[in-house]
């Protein structure tokens, strides 16, 4: 439950990326408590590892500083925070009203990598292949987008 507290830290500076890493880590612990070992491992590797490194890298590359307050940001703050509060209170109320008190025991389901892998390569083979193609396309798109528009000499620089 520490993740929710850490989120409030995140509001302030641009190094919210670091607190996002903390949130990812605590979520991984949460998954581990739920017995989803494979998902926890993937969470740490993919999110806390790869994606956050990418974020920090881009932040440093573009040397993003403190964000300045603009008119649009003030308007958004005016409507955003009350809207969020109302929404979260509503969701929490509905959840408390509607859901029973079924409990989930720690390590409730066998989320071992072996069973997950078996399921992934038997029942979910087609979606798996489709995501592989998606990732391939994403890699190509990222390379094309990030490379300089003025072809060759720019590519050598970056």
């Amino acid at each position: 439950m520490a993740g929710a507290v850490n989120l409030l830290v995140q509001r302030h500076p641009i190094n919210s990326a670091l607190s996002l890493v903390v949130v990812m880590g605590s979520l991984a612990v949460e998954y581990l408590l739920l017995g989803a070992e494979f998902v926890a491992a993937v969470q740490v590797i993919v999110y806390a590892g790869a994606i956050m490194v990418l974020f920090v890298f881009v932040i440093m590359l573009l040397n993003a500083g403190e964000e300045e307050r603009t008119k649009g940001s003030r308007v958004a703050m005016l409507f955003g925070i009350p809207g969020m509060l109302v929404g979260s209170v509503l969701v929490g109320w509905v959840l408390i009203e509607r859901t029973g008190t079924q409990t989930v025991s720690a390590g409730a389901l066998p989320g071992a990598p072996r069973t997950i892998g078996w399921l992934l390569f038997h029942n979910f083979l087609l979606p798996f292949e489709v995501t592989s193609i998606l990732v391939l396309i994403a890699i190509m798109g990222a390379v094309v987008l990030a490379s300089h528009p003025d072809s060759d000499q720019g590519k050598k620089e970056s």
Partner: protein, 100 residues
């Protein structure tokens, strides 16, 4: 033994924080991180439900969500770099023209 509603409330809080960040942040990278936060909240509810129903498909779906999020992060950050090259700014209020 933790009631499943606790997990759902936590995931709801995460999602709400993501939405708030998406609305009030004016930095493209911060907005992007808020989107990641929303995806994480949804993932948590997926895993909680999977644990409740003893169904592994939920975890598989979380895996797919993570893959899509990784692809999205890669492409989105590439777009951010491209935008920064042409606009020299990361503020979304100043990026309001499709063509320079």
């Amino acid at each position: 033994m933790v009631p499943i509603s606790y997990y759902l409330i936590l995931s709801g809080i995460l999602f709400a924080c993501g939405v708030t960040g998406f609305l009030i942040k004016r930095n493209i990278i911060s907005i992007f991180m808020s989107i990641e936060l929303m995806l994480n909240g949804v993932n948590l509810s997926f895993v909680a439900f999977a644990a409740q129903w003893h169904a592994l498909s939920g975890q598989i779906f979380v895996f797919f969500v993570m893959v899509v999020a990784a692809a999205e992060a890669a492409v989105g950050l590439a777009i951010i770099i491209a935008v920064y090259r042409t606009r020299e700014t990361l503020n979304v209020d100043q990026v309001d023209l499709l063509k320079l």
